[in-house]
Symmetry: C2
Subunit: 329 residues, 2 copies
Amino acid sequence: MAARDDISAEERLIARFFKPLATEPGALALSDDAAVLSAPAGCDLVLKTDAIVGGVHFFPDDAAQAVASKALRVNLSDLAAKGARPLGFLLSLALPKEIGEEWLSGFAEGLRGDSVLFGCPLFGGDTDRTPGPITISIAMIGSVPTGTMVQRSGAKPGDRVFVSGTIGDAALGVMLRKGKQWKLSDAQRQHLISRYLLPQPRSALAEVIRAHASASMDVSDGLVGDFAKLCRASGVGADIEVARVPLSDAAKAVIASDPAALESALTGGDDYEIVCTVPKAKCAGFSAAAGAANVAVTEMGEIKTGEGARFLAQNGQPLTFKQASFSHF
Amino acid sequence: MAARDDISAEERLIARFFKPLATEPGALALSDDAAVLSAPAGCDLVLKTDAIVGGVHFFPDDAAQAVASKALRVNLSDLAAKGARPLGFLLSLALPKEIGEEWLSGFAEGLRGDSVLFGCPLFGGDTDRTPGPITISIAMIGSVPTGTMVQRSGAKPGDRVFVSGTIGDAALGVMLRKGKQWKLSDAQRQHLISRYLLPQPRSALAEVIRAHASASMDVSDGLVGDFAKLCRASGVGADIEVARVPLSDAAKAVIASDPAALESALTGGDDYEIVCTVPKAKCAGFSAAAGAANVAVTEMGEIKTGEGARFLAQNGQPLTFKQASFSHF
């Protein structure tokens, strides 16, 4: 039996679609059991895994390229919130048998584009068949200078609370995708839908967070619930003024016509923004550095002693929510 | 809204079942977006991901504890073949909604046991719902002294070919699970079935491989196809004597009554043994060190110039196989 006859369909698939992404020498062109990585000197590694599942985290008819981007970006968002830069990633892909080369080609193209854009090459991976939906699990490896990863637990009373970008777009976008009717311009509608389809990880903010923030996390399961986690980890409370939570024009238009949508915006998730706390003396520097990095950040409240992250309405009364954040369980 | 009301079912699940496995300080008790890891000084990191899917890699009625062990062990097997010791792992878990606390409790117990046994704590993870089968993706991080990871590509003509343990047990075991009838004792039957259910990664051999082997990989998709990959990566050929491939008594009994089962044993996969090549001058040392590590290793052939890994029958003629190894695609 000649060795050349042994090359399996799986090996051919990996060589064709994924080997071009394995640009690091340590990935060994995906032709070994494992990858080898020299950790950068003077750095800690930052490790994160997040999976997306067809019909749960994306719609079955989303473009393969966008699905690939989402799979990478939900992990890149976490790294950015920790102040880390990506080094590369491992990909575990389970595919139903109806997935063919066209989908794989688009998927690989999406991975390749973001891999270049965010500087995160493929270290290695695993492909399997599944009788279930497309399931993509990414393990992302990043680095920070030793001892500088920004945790959730460092917020102190008096720190100001900032959030990047705008909140609620993706949660409203997914409601539109599911058939919700609001009176919006085409551009507004498209803005909300695209914010669900394609997260924009705030990688440009990573260094700024590391230099200024006392605590930080990404907003993926809803601002209210996620920020409550940060407060619990830090052993503090907070007062957030709902009127200061940054909203896009499209989200404002939805909420103007349907005030109940405010709760969806604040608790719905898929924002992939960063919520962080900054000591008062560092706030001006933080805002300036974020501006220089071209990422909008908005101050929306203050850390307090005690416990409980309160979201205050215009009348000063705390809002209550049916469910603070998205939960799979 | 008090913070204590925000704790989601997902957070409770993680705290109850998985936090006890996160024994490394850098895992931050699973209460942050990411884990932080100081890479050991003077070491390279070795990175591997492998997933298992219900109905594909395990039977839906396999015990949750065994499923957890298999998910970890298929990755530990790769690390051992590379000469690496594990540092820890990331877990990405997609669960159908009918999975309840009883299954999760067994699953966590299986992870905990092997996490202690093999010295690989949980760094972090992700839990999701899926409309498909249980899908468990592990990303394993290990280390080797800098520059010493054993690749597939180092085999040289004249090197001897060794394999650990016995080959084919799991492939025959899965045929038994699917209803194949062979005349076997209960103990033989149980041996084959348990070899499929619970891989035994050769972690005890990692240091021995690193000190002696010129090339190495784990046997997971079938000896014939996997060894052909090693030969291709090394740009060499090989002659393997089929009579020297180590078989368990149970596998020998199957093949004695059903000679066609030999092909299943050699190409079926799920062995999680190590096939490696050792320079002639190091063979005695390799065998002695493996013996000291309590892992049986068997010499079964020699690396040649040229290409093609030939499996020779008693009459010296190369065998041909329908499919050299398992492929999902």
